[in-house]
């Protein structure tokens, strides 16, 4: 089977673990004998954490990466783009105008690439797979010129990204059109499938859930797993993610304040950056817990895994998380997790503590309990590691392959 796949990776846009998931699925599909032509914006292909370089280094066969030249990246690195986004804060849209232009340009290029790839016999690929709204237009264009079926993969919706406040009409329009024109929709969780049905009016029979995963070899070797935890009486609770409304950092800080009332020997680390960062720093100071809350800034690669490993507890307090790969990463570094019930990852991770993101009392209660009761901490550590070890991108890829086969076979119902 041959797939023409459209991906996207810019750090501010990778909500829903888009980059991680694209990389994982590509790897998994390749392991299952699927050939992939992966079309990415030039920046992602060159510098993206999960882009071309990583795929080449990971020795993945059957994958051809096609970069699309773009005007924007010529003058804008991902971190410049982030600065740009911060400047855009306060305006109506969370997206820059250039991004929309970029999306359109990507779609025009996609049509040309699709034609080239299809070949004279029309056998260059069997199916088109597009990840999130930035690539839906490209996917639809490719479908138009090739006549091949389209699968769109929903890693996040506009409602998750905006926390339900002020969804962008243009983005919503593209999402809806993409899902409607697609022959099948893949959702990263049952939680997301529900949102797709409710907010986009897509029938359940057209949506198939394929959960994200993690592979053991996605965790870089940074020494033995049982090292890194603090041995003293001070315990560390980690938040790692973008500091934006969607990720719930304000609830995290409020819970931290409460937890410190029961146990003053806790250190909270917030790793990441985002538009709410100044507000969160201020809030910590306002609450009088500034000296207990440390800001680690934006971490990359091995630093991320070191952070997981030195933490005694990882918390993902997201307001709405279509999936949430970070808890899986924490677990694979032997760190127990508290996750928001408003997430997709809870469908594959049972051995964890769960809270409603707004329930600060329970979040604080569970933080303190997880650190206080060692026997539970070690049960969580062991059981979640065992549970998550059973996941793999190869298995997730098999879910995608089933969708491909059903679509190609023209059987859309009965999933």
């Amino acid at each position: 089977m041959k797939v023409l796949m459209f991906g996207w990776e810019f750090p501010p846009m990778n909500t829903g673990g888009l980059g991680t998931a694209c990389y994982g699925l590509t790897k998994g599909l390749s392991q299952n004998g699927v050939s992939i032509t992966l079309v990415l914006p030039q920046a992602a292909a060159d510098t993206g954490r999960f882009g071309f370089l990583k795929i080449r280094n990971a020795n993945i066969s059957n994958v051809k990466v096609k970069p699309v030249k773009s005007a924007m990246v010529a003058y804008m690195s991902p971190s410049d783009y982030e600065q740009y986004m911060l400047k855009m804060k306060g305006r109506k849209s969370i997206y820059g105008q250039n991004l929309f232009e970029e999306v359109e340009r990507f779609a025009r290029q996609a049509a040309i690439i699709a034609k080239e790839e299809l070949g004279e016999k029309g056998e260059g690929f069997d199916i088109i797979h597009a990840h999130d709204w930035m690539t839906y237009k490209a996917g639809m264009a490719a479908k138009r010129v090739s006549g091949k079926p389209l699968v769109v993969h929903v890693h996040a919706t506009e409602f998750d990204r905006t926390g339900g406040l002020g969804a962008n009409e243009y983005v919503y329009g593209i999402e809806k059109e993409g899902m409607e024109k697609a022959d099948a929709v893949i959702a990263v969780s049952g939680y997301t499938r529900q949102k797709i049905m409710e907010n986009y009016g897509i029938p359940e029979s057209k949506i198939r859930v394929v959960h994200n995963a993690i592979d053991k070899d996605d965790i870089p070797w940074i020494g033995s797993l049982d090292h890194g935890k603090s041995s003293g009486s001070t315990k560390t609770v980690l938040y790692l993610g973008r500091i934006t409304l969607q990720k719930g950092p304000d609830y995290f800080v409020a819970a931290a304040k409460k937890a410190l009332e029961a146990d003053p020997n806790i250190r909270f680390i917030i790793a990441g950056s985002g538009d709410m960062e100044p507000r969160i720093i201020e809030k910590a100071a306002e609450l009088g817990i500034g000296h207990n809350v440390l800001f680690a800034g934006f971490l990359r690669d091995e630093e991320i895994h070191k952070a997981y490993r030195m933490a005694d507890l990882y918390v993902m307090p997201s307001v709405s998380e279509p999936f949430g790969i970070t808890p899986l990463e924490a677990v694979m570094n032997q760190t127990p997790v508290i996750i928001s019930k408003q997430s997709g990852v809870k469908e594959v991770l049972k051995h964890c503590l769960q809270v409603d993101f707004w329930d600060i009392d329970q979040m604080a209660n569970k933080m303190v309990a997880a650190l206080k009761y060692g026997e539970m901490h070690s049960e969580l550590q062991r059981n979640s590691y065992e549970e998550v070890s059973k996941l793999s991108w190869s298995k997730s890829a098999q879910g995608c392959i089933e969708v491909y086969s059903n679509v190609i076979g023209g059987m859309r119902t009965g999933w």
Partner: protein, 428 residues
């Protein structure tokens, strides 16, 4: 002659409420009154009341019919407080003289495994409650410490004793015998019975007078677990079919022990499955065979001599496929919780605070530990019946927070005591 021996377990724990770390030292309110009442009310309506009505009808219709129950003290307390109709219906059953009530630990606890003195006290508490409510076993017992064998030997003799979750070993039999019981019930697990049939009366190893009845788990589970299982090759299970299976025991034993949770009727198996009609028709179908009859555990022990001795050196229970204690003690959270609650025993009992002792005992109900079980949890399994928690970890957190509050109360009680003593000494 095959005697069918029905024994139904009736128990509802007093569930804990989500008690946070912030309440430790500040709140003594541990139990989820609302949830407990809701569940009790639901089960009373769905199971206890309609099932008891049917039993009464059956006793009226068939003079041969017999049935027995073990009702935990914790459940009886809740009936007294919130569901007097349920209690009345059990009393009505008792008045027929053909319904037997068994003894167990009052708090449905694992005390046997962790503290023999506590175990014996709880059995005694239960015995007294049953006697008061149902007019059986007219002997008086007093709470005392340690010299149990002499005192407990005074427990009324014609009683059959069933330990929590059918937990049984040679030692259970030895203690029960010392306490004066005539018989003990146990799970008829394969690894215990091996080639033997559960359809005979046995004698515990080393016992002199006491008899041992084993659950026929195949036939019991056909009703309790498989009744509505459509993928089961015998579905649907009719009273006629089941009556025939029981008759087949003729020649291969003389009793069929059908032991199950009473909630099987109407709660685990919903009314729509036809479980009540099955129950209504069953005695009639069983009695179609002229050699069949019904008996209570005491009847059986009176009329059947043990055929052989069975050795059960290790504890056996009726839980899960393993039939061991792993549902309550399988992980380190459960082990730690149990170890900690029983390590407080001496301090709790000497504090002189009746409310504290009662709270501590309520924390011993096996259910709390069952909710912490992580076995098969990820597969979304069974331990969910009447389970107030989404996860075993939530159950553990509430339990441990409360345990720590009890610990603080104990500390406070100890300090007050010391203060008084110091004051008295100073006054001279």
């Amino acid at each position: 002659m095959v005697s069918v021996c029905f024994y139904f377990q009736v128990h509802q724990p007093v569930r804990l409420r989500p008690y946070t770390v912030f309440e430790i030292g500040k709140s003594n309110s541990y139990f989820d009154e609302q949830k407990n009442r809701e569940i009790l009310d639901r089960v009373a309506k769905k199971c206890y009341l309609p099932a008891n009505a049917i039993m009464l009808e059956l006793l009226d219709k068939h003079p041969e019919f017999r049935v027995s129950y073990s009702i935990s003290g914790v459940a009886l307390e809740q009936f007294m407080r919130h569901e007097p109709k349920v209690l009345d219906s059990f009393k009505e059953l008792a008045r027929t003289g053909r319904v037997e009530f068994l003894d167990e630990t009052y708090h449905h606890s694992l005390s046997f495994v962790y503290s023999k003195p506590e175990f014996i006290e709880q059995v005694r508490l239960h015995n007294r409650l049953i006697r008061n409510l149902f007019g059986k076993s007219p002997q008086v017992f007093r709470n005392t410490e340690l010299i149990y064998s002499n005192e407990v030997a005074a427990i009324a003799e014609k009683k059959v004793f069933r330990n929590t979750e059918l937990i049984y070993s040679n030692e259970v039999a030895a203690i029960a015998e010392k306490m004066g019981y005539k018989g003990v019930l146990a799970e008829g697990a394969d690894h215990v019975l091996e080639w033997r049939s559960p359809n005979f009366v046995y004698k515990p190893k080393g016992a002199r007078k006491i008899s041992l009845l084993f659950k026929n788990y195949r036939l019991s589970d056909d009703v309790a677990f498989r009744f509505s299982e459509r993928s089961w090759s015998e579905w649907p299970l009719t009273a006629e079919k089941f009556g025939n299976w029981i008759s087949k025991a003729n020649g291969n034993g003389n009793i069929v022990n059908l032991f199950m949770d009473y909630e099987t009727f109407g709660e685990h198996q919903w009314p729509e499955t036809g479980i009540f009609n099955f129950l209504k028709k069953l005695p009639e179908e069983i009695l179609k065979h002229p050699d069949n009859g019904f008996a209570t555990p005491s009847d059986i022990i009176r009329t059947h001599k043990p055929v052989a001795e069975v050795d059960v050196p290790r504890l056996v229970s009726w839980a899960d496929v393993e039939r061991d204690l792993s549902a309550w003690t399988g992980n380190s959270m459960q082990q730690s919780a149990l170890q900690q609650i029983y390590s407080m025993e001496t301090a709790v009992k000497s504090c002189g605070d009746a409310k504290l002792i009662e709270d501590w005992r309520m924390m011993q109900s096996s259910d709390h530990y069952y909710y912490m079980c992580t076995k098969w949890f990820a597969d979304g399994d069974v331990h969910k019946y009447f389970n107030p928690y989404d996860s075993p970890y939530d159950g553990f957190i509430s339990f441990m927070n409360i345990l720590n509050d009890i610990r603080e109360r104990l500390k406070k009680a100890g300090e007050e005591k010391a203060m008084k003593a110091a004051l008295n000494a100073a006054i001279g």
